[in-house]
């Protein structure tokens, strides 16, 4: 019997309370419990983390880079969504 390849997991770590989890890398593990343990042993050896998420790599759906134009460019022209678009006289103070 050929052993199937050990599944790949993506690891996300929150380094401090108040911060979001951030992708730090990947690892191989047979199941979620082992993936979590391995993530701890590999990615938090220097006190890098307070919380870990592991996600099967196959569970991630990614946007298609060739659709970058359609996906992201339309947002670039909407400059009126940014505060700097509007003029408020200096005398009014910070707003």
């Amino acid at each position: 019997m050929a052993t199937p390849n050990t599944p790949l997991w993506e690891v996300f770590i929150r380094s401090r309370n108040g911060l979001a989890h951030k992708h730090v890398g990947s690892l191989h593990a047979s199941d979620a419990t082992m993936a979590l343990q391995a993530a701890r042993d590999i990615y938090t050896r220097r006190g890098e983390g307070l919380s870990i998420w592991v996600v099967p790599s196959t569970a991630i759906t990614a946007s298609d880079p060739t659709e970058k134009g359609m996906m992201f460019e339309p947002a670039e022209s909407k400059i009126y969504r940014h505060p700097t678009f509007y003029e408020v006289p200096e005398e009014v103070g910070h707003m």
Partner: protein, 330 residues
Amino acid sequence: MYTQALNTAETDDRGLEDAGRAAQFQARIDAEERIEPNDWMPAAYRKTLTRQISQHAHSEIVGMLPEGNWITRAPSLRRKAALLAKVQDECGHGLYLYAAAETLGTSREELVDAMLAGKAKYSSIFNYPTLTWADIGTIGWLVDGAAIMNQIPLCRCSYGPYARAMIRVCKEESFHQRQGYEIMLTLCRGSEEQKAMAQDALNRWWWPVLMMFGPPDSTSQHSDTSTKWKIKRFSNDELRQKFVDATVPQAQYLGLTIPDPGMTQDADGHWRYSEIDWTEFKQVLAGNGPCNRDRIAARRKAHAEGAWVREAAASYAAKRAHRQTAQAAE
């Protein structure tokens, strides 16, 4: 360096691919943009990177063996903990790098199989034996020193996952060279016997370390493709010279003699080293170094003896998934 066999980039087969896409790709590279896994890339770029990153990963893993040889014999508890942590870091580096290589579409299993089958290369330096404790100091000082020299520019490599892995690796590397140098310093401040041990280790490792940077620029083929793709930012000889210039004063501070009587310092401060024995280098890369067979045998043994463990974990995971589905169906 850790990928020294590979100054042979894949030949450009862009002719077969969409010329427009290739031009766009090169424009992105020229604009210092990072290429990410799902982006279009020339097949040759993918192939070159897969080979380079996996060779780098194999080097980290095989590199655990010569130093691992001394973990059980480290002369103090402090040294033992530091060495174990260091060798463990190298394992982590291999792991990050395999993961980076996998983003290009080849599984870790396939990459490892190629190495175990003797089809993939790893750095020639790890085919030399560690005979005394001074070798551990010398490896940290020189081998890790040379690796860092090579890896810092790779943090800006055009392929995003490789660059990110290298940033993490470089952060961790910073203690490796220092712990090596500290070992050397302790030996050189110690007894005559210890100092002789340090000098002997330097004598044996110096030339193999210079070989780590790969063949001279005059003979390395296709290095220009890697440069054009911004995988490689400095030539072998440039990095080698930088390394020598950095290392000579460190050796002087230790009171050790670099085993190159012909070495001279030129007017602009660079240390000119003598001719490197490239025949030895080629032989070691071809599998004829003092430890090539032992290294591969050790990795094969670990892989073979671990098979039943990996099978057990996979089988348990399958059973558990099955039980969970059955439960959900109830």
